[in-house]
Subunit: 290 residues, 2 copies
């Protein structure tokens, strides 16, 4: 096995930060931690999720950490990520590799530090906070990395090694633009749709609880995601979400026009047959793709 970093620092000990801290510790890494919430920080220490703690971002923003900490991971909300990394300017352009775990990236805008690489470990839960810790959250999943500031091969290799060997994940690279559009389609829109579907059931004031079939289960789960984080994601990735929503609406409308038989089709076809063909093509795409 390639050698992952020996000593890392995790800022933000919520679901993502605490889960990856614990997983890295299990692989033998030394893990330092910081959270502005003192209770979370204390819990992380008491539960042996981290080996030692920092007191403040000011203490972390210290060049003397260079040569000691190999990777610094910022695992806070998408908006706070910009703020936290901006407060660590003394560590920019050093040998420490700085990364972060935000689900949306276009809001991250730094003055080209050559040691910052973005990461998105694709895993989540409707749980949030250190209470939701799951050391297997990332196991065998995938991390996307984006390298908008052209960090050099040494930083790239270090980050890839970390995700692959300390967290047992696959790694692939794409641009920030690709990332944000792709995750608008595959994650952000599904969350928005789930919130809206459960909201529409709420507003219907029907007693559905006991009658929700399997088809509703995942919508229910997603609609219980962390509102603070998802508000940020929806706002920050607004354009891509609207783009994805527009495509979704086209597909809904196409199916609806077939269901209601108002679509203009050649007279030699039937709406029912075309509807069935459409559903079959979607099913086939699903089977070929996922």
């Amino acid at each position: 096995m390639s050698n992952p970093a020996k000593e890392i620092l995790v800022i933000g000990l919520g679901l993502i930060g605490s889960s990856l801290a614990k997983a890295a510790k299990n692989k033998g890494l030394i893990v330092h931690g910081f959270d502005e919430d003192k209770n979370s920080l204390e819990e992380a220490l008491n539960k042996n999720i981290i080996d030692s703690s920092f007191e403040s971002l000011q203490d972390i923003n210290d060049k003397s950490l260079v040569g000691k900490i190999e990777i610094l991971i910022v695992a806070v909300s998408p908006r706070a990520t910009q703020v936290v990394i901006s407060e660590l300017k003394n560590l920019w352009n050093t040998e420490i590799t700085i990364t972060e775990t935000s689900s949306v990236k276009n809001q991250l805008n730094f003055d080209s530090p050559n040691n910052i690489i973005f990461s998105h470990p694709i895993a989540g839960s409707d749980k949030s906070g250190i209470g939701g810790i799951d050391e297997e959250l990332f196991l065998n999943k995938k991390t996307i990395i984006c390298n908008p500031y052209n960090a050099n091969e040494a930083h790239l290799t270090k980050i890839k090694n970390f995700w692959q060997h300390a967290l047992s994940m696959r790694v692939s690279e794409m641009s920030v633009k690709e990332h944000d559009l792709l995750f608008a389609m595959t994650s952000h829109l599904p969350h928005l749709i789930s919130y809206a579907l459960i909201d529409s059931i709420r507003l219907a004031e029907k007693d559905v609880g006991d009658n929700a079939g399997g088809g509703l289960k995942e919508f229910i789960r997603l609609s219980g995601s962390n509102p603070e984080m998802w508000k940020d994601i929806f706002e920050l990735n607004e354009k891509n979400i609207i783009k994805s929503l527009a495509s979704f609406q086209l597909s809904i409308n196409n199916l609806l026009e077939l269901i209601t038989k108002i679509k203009e089709i050649p007279s030699s076809f039937s709406h029912s047959d075309i509807l069935k063909n459409e559903l079959e093509e979607i099913k086939k795409y699903k089977e070929d793709t996922f």
Copy 2:
């Protein structure tokens, strides 16, 4: 334990019919079966899913079965349900209790036979056909029954006993109208949305396969459902699905207006705070309800 029927006949040995036949046999019932597909019928016999088979609907439409078969269950597609039950007129208004398992009921329209009760065992799978058989498919789940023709207490008790004791399900009763609206909201619309979401990803021609996070998983699963059956359900429950879709669109639009900050709100509030509150209320409803 109350006594479920001793001898039943299942027409249609797809996923639902074969799964319930096997589960009932496991509880000691004698299960006869019929499927117009000879291969399925033979497979059901060979795999001991049914005890004996009928050759045709004509053979089943025979008064001499009265006193022998206690419950006849029609487990075919929503449209075929109307046809099959219509071909069994000799068994109408007899001691045999006739039921069916369609996910949509408003298309079922018979001349008030006093022994027909509708059932909807709420369970499903993206698998279909006898190959998807799962004798635990219904275990501890729920069956809705509708009694539009006022079948008497003896029929009702027999059907309830069957679902409760032969299939280990909970039973509750509602009207056909309530049933079709409720399942438009909790099952049919989620399926339509899932087909449309996966369709929109298909049409985007992006390579997403490996990058689908957990949020997409259930949409993927639902979009692989049986097109033949779902075309029927969408068409037959069109009005309720449109009603549910309209409510969903209102909720999407509300969230979208908050995300894009174009909603008219009092100047003392912020769009972000209202968006977060909305998401929190939806999450709270989800936690209180499901």
